[in-house]
Symmetry: C2
Subunit: 131 residues, 2 copies
């Protein structure tokens, strides 16, 4: 079972709040990078492309952390420690298009059309909110 | 030897850009949290208080990652993988006051006066910039 995102901070996933995703390098050291994010209860959803650092990291080690911060107030945020419970290419182009629409207002993602998009479903294990 | 922050992105440390700090939990899983940050070549400097999760994490495992993003453009950022090479209480109250001044315009930090502030000097090992 995962932990829920509190209703008080669910709006952060509706805003154009670029999240920060921490993954683990092969050595076990953390890496952090901005990502588009959505919440489809009970999963935090991110999307990347095959071969990227975070793709390789999440395939190797499912343990991740995510921070989503209110663009209008940096002291209001939700942080999650979670596990990548599913990695799939199925529907991943639809997901990146949905994210592009959310963040850029562009319903078709403008990145390379030939890259293999991947969706990662993250089940929160710990959730902390502030502000 | 550490890696330098490129001059092209040094301004991110002058802006009121709240950073995201990833540390490692006892289990080795990542944790990410917002932090105030400054750059004093060659160190990325953060400040916390004794006993907090990130304090305990950085004392246990020196490996951290930091993302600093342009408040005016979320696609312009610097990410760092680094090592905490020094943890000190010396001058730590001055550092948190300087950070309070930078981020809030309040030259005296408004947090609990009786907590023990701590400064962490992070030496970048890998630096990536975007935008």
């Amino acid at each position: 079972m995962g932990k829920m995102i509190p209703a008080s901070h669910m709006d952060l996933f509706e805003k154009r709040a670029v999240a920060s995703l921490a993954t683990l390098m092969p050595s076990g050291c953390p890496q952090v990078t901005p990502v588009w994010v959505m919440y489809t209860e009970p999963y935090v959803i991110v999307n990347s492309a095959v071969g990227r650092v975070k793709d390789r990291n999440m395939r190797r080690d499912a343990r991740v952390a995510i921070e989503v911060r209110d663009p209008g107030n940096p002291y209001r945020y939700v942080t999650v420690q979670g596990l990548v419970v599913e990695i799939t290419e199925e529907g991943a182009r639809d997901v990146i298009n949905a994210l592009s629409d959310k963040y850029l207002g562009q319903p078709v993602y403008g990145g390379p059309p030939d890259e293999t998009r991947v969706t990662y479903k993250i089940l929160p294990q710990r959730v902390h909110v502030s502000g």
